[in-house]
Symmetry: C2
Subunit: 160 residues, 2 copies
């Protein structure tokens, strides 16, 4: 059971480890879409999937929904608009708001993607269905952090 120094450092490197795993999964995700002949970038998923489920949303509410800072969402929307997967219109009641929705082309894309999602879900289930389930662990950790942040928890030990 060989272990490198970073693995051995365990908790200290948790952020690095999470990022590495995220990248690896994202890259494989891209290859899976390609294998289905779908021209789709995994980073588009949160925006498109949310619009698929909720139809029309403003930029900020979409950002909140997917948990991104709004400028991140704006730049994704710009790409998606260029690809003609989404369109936007002004909110007539609150003119500050830009309402975003899928186009026909976007809706079509999303429906061709449904079988891919099934494959992704199965493959992910296979991978995460270990003794400690990754998705459940993420959910649990996120809810611990929501209750009391990492920093707040550390502060308790600092004061001692």
């Amino acid at each position: 059971m060989e272990q490198n120094v970073i693995d051995a450092s365990g908790l200290l490197a948790i952020s690095t480890r999470l990022q590495r795993l995220s990248d690896q999964i994202r890259k494989d995700g891209l290859l899976i879409y390609k294998a289905f002949g779908i021209d789709f970038q995994p980073k588009w998923f949160p925006v498109l999937y949310t619009l698929y489920k909720k139809s029309t949303m403003s930029v900020v509410s979409l950002s909140d929904e997917i948990g991104y800072a709004h400028p991140s969402t704006i730049s994704l929307l710009k790409e998606l608009e260029k690809e003609k997967f989404i369109r936007s219109k002004k909110d007539k009641v609150d003119t500050r708001k830009r309402l975003v929705e899928l186009t026909e082309k976007g809706t079509t894309l999303l429906s061709t993607m449904e079988p891919v999602w099934e494959v992704i879900i199965k493959a992910t289930a296979e991978i995460t269905n270990t003794e400690n389930n990754l998705m459940k662990a993420i959910n649990e950790v996120e809810s611990s952090l929501k209750e009391k942040s990492f920093l707040q928890r550390a502060e308790v030990y600092i004061k001692k």
Copy 2:
């Protein structure tokens, strides 16, 4: 129990979720170092910690050890050299190699960091010690992926 669309999409968004969590932990990590008055960036951790444990290493072996592409390591080393935490010298046997090691200043920094690590370890343990342990889950998933990649697993379902 309110849930946003992305959370509800579960496995599909796993890469996004991992990244978000990683960022959150990294940011809090930075704040903890600050709370101790240590001028240290979490991204330096893998390189410095590895050099602390293994003393002298070449660029590539260091990259392999921490699991980074070598250009990433090089750019970290550049910063760390500027901060005078590390220095490098030519390998006399294999002149292609650049051997990297901590300076006095680097070693001093690392030893002032040990108490911070203890705090980080405790706080992280608190957070990850849920029903499904995040660190264990990451280890398990990484070893599943080493055995058979995400794409290879998906291919099985595609062929059906």
